[in-house]
Symmetry: C2
Subunit: 139 residues, 2 copies
Amino acid sequence: MSDLLERLRGRGWRLTAQRRVVAEVLDGDHVHYTADEVHARASDRLPEISRATVYNTLGELVSLGEVLEVSTDGRAKRYDPNAHHDHQHLVCSRCGTIRDVHVQGDPLSALPEPERYGFQVSEVTVTYRGICPKCSGPS
Amino acid sequence: MSDLLERLRGRGWRLTAQRRVVAEVLDGDHVHYTADEVHARASDRLPEISRATVYNTLGELVSLGEVLEVSTDGRAKRYDPNAHHDHQHLVCSRCGTIRDVHVQGDPLSALPEPERYGFQVSEVTVTYRGICPKCSGPS
DNA sequence: TTCTTGACTTAGACATTGTCCAATGTAGGA
DNA sequence: TCCTACATTGGACAATGTCTAAGTCAAGAA
């Protein structure tokens, strides 16, 4: 992840403790945290970090293309540090956990020209939903 | 749409003015409104209708499978009355408009077994993003 | 028709998630 | 070391959604 920090510095980012901590949190477990979860974890290492800074930093990482924003349920957005690999998501409809998955073929090609209605289609996201093994176990 | 109302009554729904109005709004233009837009339009016909009722009614319609909930941007959810036809969505990244589209093949089959990680996958949503003709015109 | 009752609606408080701003702090170059 | 433009802070505010207690009413019963 220090790669990431280097890349960002190369792009004129000022390297602050807060930004470093946010980057480290994202780099830790390969999970998809909400902004507030990132804030909570960042606070463990840097107690005074403010919510605004976490939101700002996440927003910057997204617009720099280093992190993906995933909104699967209309609740809080989640942040996916795996932005450099093409992948889709598998979401547990019960507990909300997200896994990265890889699909066969290019989903974009499944949309025929006449179904594009003049849009310049540039992106496609595929989200699979189901019950994860943990949640389907004997409750 | 009176079909819908009949169906709902068959399922034990009490038929109130508020619910009728919400159903009519959804049945009108084939657009995907947010809850507050539904509320605004419902208020035109029934000024005293409350936000809570609109939210309740939309929630019920969703759990009855009569309407789909679409959350494309992490902002307000939108409601899609076209629940009985299999379709996916095409979203304008600039103005947020949503169109229903039909894809070739079954997107579910693009996810190989080993990529399912023990989930019981039951649903897949595909969202295409791009710029709509209106937004790509000379601004 | 009128009565009864449990389901429905209402208003508004509250919760969650996110944005904005003015004051303050500080990274990194000169 | 000093400057200063950029970053951070805390708190107010906004948007969306949920909950509750009290009042209302649809639809079946008599």
